[in-house]
Symmetry: C2
Amino acid sequence: MQARARERARQILEVTARLLDKVGLDDLTTILIAKELGISVGSLYHYFPNKHAILYALAEDWLASMTAALEEVSESALEECTLDEFVEVLLDKLAKVYQEQEGVLPLVQAMWGIPELSEIDERHDQLVITYLCKMFERLGFACPPNEKSRIARLMLETMHTVLVTITQQQGHRARRTREDLHRMLLAVMDARRADAAPDGLDDIEAP
Amino acid sequence: MQARARERARQILEVTARLLDKVGLDDLTTILIAKELGISVGSLYHYFPNKHAILYALAEDWLASMTAALEEVSESALEECTLDEFVEVLLDKLAKVYQEQEGVLPLVQAMWGIPELSEIDERHDQLVITYLCKMFERLGFACPPNEKSRIARLMLETMHTVLVTITQQQGHRARRTREDLHRMLLAVMDARRADAAPDGLDDIEAP
DNA sequence: ACCTGAACACCGTTCAAGT
DNA sequence: ACCTGAACACCGTTCAAGT
């Protein structure tokens, strides 16, 4: 049955996520995954064409939940929103996604290390950047499109790094780091609302 | 001769750095390194005990040049320095290190992915944090030690992420992203000089 | 249809034998 | 002292044979 097959695929992803968290990317072998599930290696390849495909599927899930969080943010009334409130909502939604993902660290590591995965990572980044740019517009940003996307990427990468850091901190420390992240993002965004930058086209410069 | 041996070791590191930049971490094999140098695999193991040791040595070089840059920063007259000037000098020195390192990206990836390397990475982070904390003091920061080191780590990680981004950007884009990084760091530091935070001990809370 | 596990290719590492 | 390359262990992947 198709239903059984999908159930097995789900089990494989679940076990892989757990093992990833437990043993790390380097020691995650197909044999280990199969053994943990009580099936043979060959059987594993019945559901996924190769090891990377399993990690690929995990990464897709993770990126999808990130997109969902952004979708939620963009549903709030940004037009009548201070930058401060915007950052608050944004960090709230994204922090939850990072907090809930099992083994974020090795997964992120896999996304950087394996070419197939960095490909979807890059595609996903583009998606997030597009989302953020649209929101910037609704927030009344006064800067050219390529500047908006540059800032979006900068914010994306900063949020990523610091949110990963936060998942490794506790209590007060975590809370303060989050406040600092808030400050950093605000500093970048504030600069772009103040300057109605008159330099829209000088990006054409370099190939 | 010892001199010959050291020369060979240097050659191996040089070739590995170039190959790392060219083919990436995944496709970097010991056979490839040996072939590129015109020696046999066995000979390679005469100079380094294993593949990780080669990457380890590369990482050490890179981290050493980072430390050297920080040493230079701490030689300037921080006591009579605005935060703005401090950030300017700091980013100037560090940006050069990132710009000059061949294959920063795969090297960083290796440092995250390989346990031995993440160990020196962590040791190095601690060193940088210590440096930064000392400088914070000279800059007149008013917050408890554990807060200083938390902020140092935050800054370290933010600088790392954004400086890597900058090495992949060009001209105006790179310059603007650097200005934004400047703003972000300033925002975090400013907050700590203003508040003479009265909450020094509440980190004891969680295990 | 789903599963098995021996077999193959490939890579890191070793070591007996060479100069 | 330094080098060689066949040999070994291990892991990802395949496939002929089973239920």
